[in-house]
């Protein structure tokens, strides 16, 4: 059977072989989730590397998600020129430890990138992620800046908000994508969690998506599938998101949430802010499109 990644790669290839100017057409049906099979791991602890290991182990270990020889993309939030304690970017230790777990699962290559909002160089350094990855000192793990040349226009056959948009090819074609958002307040989408984090691998004028952000995010996430979502709630930003800037808005929770179901992970994360999942329109849109399960009573906590 053709798996999802192969299908994407073939679509891209077919478009590049056919007449010049034609775009790859995506009419992906979301990966179906049998409700009883959705597992969600939530762990707390202040030792972040240990917390990451414990959380992923609860889901059955990284080898359930990453196979030997695969190329894995990690998509943390590195969007802002802010230091770790300000809770605007994913914690560097979360990113570094997940990268290590991928290597332990025999991944051939781990690529890490984000399309930032502030200057990319400043964000990579200031977030602490550059230093954490450098400390791994492993050539298989690459923290790389988005390459302007890597965007690929795609036609979304079933798109509700998006008809045609640029996506970052390395994210499309990787064998696995692990989504590593940080849980934050956001004025337009109420919260920014897993689904919103995937905005970091698309091109174009992202600001226009705010007009219909929930459907746009559902569209984007139906193209880019997160094989595993690990939400960093070691500290969350409760106001002035998504970039914060004041410690007054940061709340320490020492929590990680992980699931193969992005909607389930987001739904649980919403509860940390005192919301019910159905109060977050992005989650509702995602669930309606079949991207995952938002009814937490139907999710198996592991």
């Amino acid at each position: 059977m053709l798996n999802r990644r192969d299908f994407i790669r073939r679509s891209l290839q077919a478009a590049s072989l056919s007449a010049i100017g034609s775009l790859p057409v995506f009419d992906l049906v979301p990966q179906s989730f049998a409700a009883d099979a959705v597992e969600l791991a939530v762990r707390t602890g202040s030792d972040i590397p240990a917390l990451v290991r414990e959380t992923v182990a609860a889901l059955g270990g990284m080898s359930r998600f990453v196979k030997a020889g695969e190329t894995v993309v990690l998509k943390p939030n590195i969007g802002w020129d802010r230091t770790v304690e300000l809770a605007a970017n994913t914690h560097p230790q979360v990113v570094a430890t997940v990268a290590l777990l991928c290597l332990e699962a025999k991944a051939a290559r781990v690529r890490i990138f984000d399309r930032t909002c502030n200057d990319p160089r400043r964000c990579y350094v200031q977030s602490g992620i550059a230093a954490a990855i450098e400390a791994l000192d492993d050539k298989r793990v690459e923290l790389e800046h988005i390459d302007r040349r890597g965007y690929q226009e795609i036609l979304l056959k079933n798109g509700v908000a998006l008809k045609k948009w640029e996506f970052y090819k390395p994210a499309l074609t990787a064998d696995r994508l692990i989504n590593l958002p940080i849980a934050k307040d956001h004025s337009i989408s109420v919260l920014t969690l897993g689904m919103k984090n995937i905005m970091g691998v698309i091109g174009g004028n992202r600001g226009v998506l705010h007009r219909n952000i929930d459907e746009a995010l559902a569209d984007i996430n139906s193209v880019i599938h997160s094989d595993l979502t690990i939400i960093d709630a070691t500290r969350i930003l409760t106001a002035n998101g998504p970039q914060g800037g004041s410690l007054d808005d940061v709340k320490r929770l020492d929590t990680l949430i992980a699931s193969a179901d992005i909607v389930a992970a987001d739904s649980y994360a919403a509860t940390l802010f005192g919301f019910r999942p159905e109060q977050i329109p992005t989650i509702v849109a995602g669930a309606k499109r079949g991207l995952g399960v938002m009814d937490l009573s139907k999710v198996k906590k592991v």
Binding site: D81, C117, N118, D119, P120, R121, R122, V125, Q126, A130, H145, D147, R149, G150, H186, S187, I188, N205, R206, G207, V208, H210, R211, N212, I213, N240, P242, Q243, G244, G245, S246
Partner: protein
């Protein structure tokens, strides 16, 4: 000096020129954020050794920047002792002209020696005008011309061409041009973001014009126009340099045609000699020698009192004529200066239009002004927020400014430095004008307590009440960084624009309500 050492001098001089040029180019490439908030090298060294920058700084109100500009005074001191060696050995524009002269071909028009006077007259006019409050030295400073052409035109074009090449290499397999090469270029020889600048073509045309003057005669610019050459010349009158013979020999005359500074025609004058020492090498009779001598007699400059008075009067008239135009900071609300810029009047008197701040600006926000800052503000830096914004935690422009036009701010005060105020245009802002959600400006606003807030309101749309979030600027929190204007998702004109109201640098009376009187 024996014959063998003469040849060495020629080679040594060329090697020094090339080494200096490469050194300045290397510093130029380091004039960029490279993962450290503080630049590790003195990237604006070219202007720290520039005596004209020191003149501009000295004539501006406020204290002289000793700690930045002491190398310029050192150069002046060395020139007093040893003459205009800077022109022959160090000046990157001089080296460029020597290099391009070979390409374009050099003219041998016999330009009247009186033309040499022009550079002194120009220098005097510029200095007197600066004394009277209008500083235009940067327009003619050869080092400014060199660096600003590099910044605004040559480097962006270099990047564009390389980017196009690597674009092709991304999709098609090319021999040699692979990813490794791309990464090497990207990390060492290219800008992180493709630089784009207003005035790129205009700046280039002037540079090309100066190069084409080589078709008239060799080093036309340096001999006749360059005010830095004039200043160094004035300082060389008593230099301890002695050339023998001190005039063209009647039996040969080769110096008269081959000297790059054309100085030996008639009697030797230290003020005009670049000290390239070529004549000591090419003299067929091996007669020419240079030596350092405490008894070297002063040589005269061909300037009469009438010339001096005329040039000074010119400068004294130009200044008030330019000053009677209205203050641009008032007339043009979009004249946004970099953070740390001193008050407009002093800014214009300090800025030597070198382009260092535009080169280093991490957001590509600073652009050269054409008329936006008035007639006296050509090539001064201007923040064009639709093209790029001022990065909240960045202090690079203040670090590179050689004349204190942009003060160096630490990060904390920089974050509080107000360079303008964002103003929302409700006629085009999406929630107001089209009842569409947006708030991209609010999302990007960097102040810890956001200077752009929103209000959620119900409004009727097609007879149905719908809820929208409407952005609003909080005046006493906004610092005018312009990220809202850069990121506004509207096509073309932004629905939020930064105006220069309430800048920290302008002394104003203040009201208790937070406004300005």
């Amino acid at each position: 000096m024996n014959a063998k050492r003469r040849i060495d001098w020629h080679r040594l001089r060329q090697a020094t020129q090339i080494a200096c040029l490469l050194g300045f180019l290397w510093l130029f490439l380091q004039t960029e954020y490279r993962d450290a908030d503080q630049l590790p090298y003195p990237v604006s060294l070219l202007f720290r050794i520039d005596p004209l920058a020191a003149v501009a700084d000295a004539l501006a109100p406020g204290p002289f920047s000793w700690e930045v500009l002491w190398p310029a005074l050192l150069l002046l001191g060395l020139t007093v002792l040893f003459g205009r060696f800077f022109c022959g050995w160090i000046c990157p524009l001089g080296t460029t002209l020597d290099g391009f002269g070979k390409v374009t071909g050099r003219g041998h028009t016999a330009v009247r020696p009186a033309w040499r006077r022009f550079k002194y007259l120009l220098l005097i006019s510029l200095v007197v005008a600066a004394l009277f409050g209008v500083q235009q030295i940067g327009l003619f400073d050869p080092l400014s011309i060199f660096l600003r052409t590099l910044t605004l035109t040559v480097y962006p074009v270099w990047n564009l061409l390389l980017n196009k090449l690597f674009d092709v290499a991304y999709t098609v397999e090319l021999p040699l041009i692979n990813e490794t090469l791309f990464l090497f270029f990207r990390d060492n020889l290219m800008a992180f973001h493709q630089p784009i600048f207003t005035l790129a073509l205009f700046t280039l045309l002037i540079f090309v014009g100066i190069i084409l003057l080589e078709k008239v005669e060799r080093r036309f610019w340096c001999k006749n126009v360059c005010p830095l050459g004039a200043l160094l010349g004035l300082c060389s009158k008593y230099a301890l340099i002695e050339r023998r013979p001190d005039a063209v020999c009647s039996d040969c005359q080769r110096c008269a045609t081959e000297c790059r500074s054309g100085v030996v025609a008639g009697t030797y004058r230290k003020q005009e000699c670049f000290l390239c020492l070529d004549c000591a090498g090419f003299c067929p009779h091996e007669r020419v020698t240079f030596r350092v001598s405490a008894n070297s007699p002063p040589t005269s400059i061909d300037l009469t009192r009438r010339h001096l008075v005329g040039a000074a009067a010119c400068g004294a008239l130009i200044a008030p004529t330019m000053l009677i135009s209205p203050a641009q900071a008032k007339v043009n609300p979009y004249l946004i200066r970099p953070p740390g810029a001193v008050a407009e009047e002093e800014f214009l008197r300090r800025c030597i239009r070198c382009g260092e701040c535009m080169k280093v600006c991490i957001g590509g926000a600073l652009h050269p002004a054409l008329a936006e800052a008035g007639v006296s503000g050509l090539w001064t830096p201007l923040l064009v927020a639709r093209l790029g914004y001022c990065e909240y935690n960045c202090t690079l422009c203040g670090q590179v400014c050689p004349t204190g036009a942009i003060r160096e701010l630490k990060v904390e005060p920089k974050r509080k430095e107000v360079i303008g105020l964002a103003v929302i245009d409700r006629n085009s802002c999406l929630p107001f004008a089209r009842n569409e959600e947006c708030l991209v400006c609010e999302e990007h606003c960097p102040t810890p307590k956001k200077a752009i807030i929103f209000e959620q309101r119900q409004i009727p749309v097609d007879g149905e009440m719908m809820s929208f979030k409407f952005p609003q600027v909080v005046k006493n929190l906004c610092i005018g960084c312009g990220i809202c204007e850069t990121k506004c998702p509207l096509q073309g004109r932004s629905a939020i624009r930064v105006v220069n109201e309430g800048e920290s640098r302008q002394q104003q009376n203040e009201l208790t309500t937070g406004g300005y009187g």
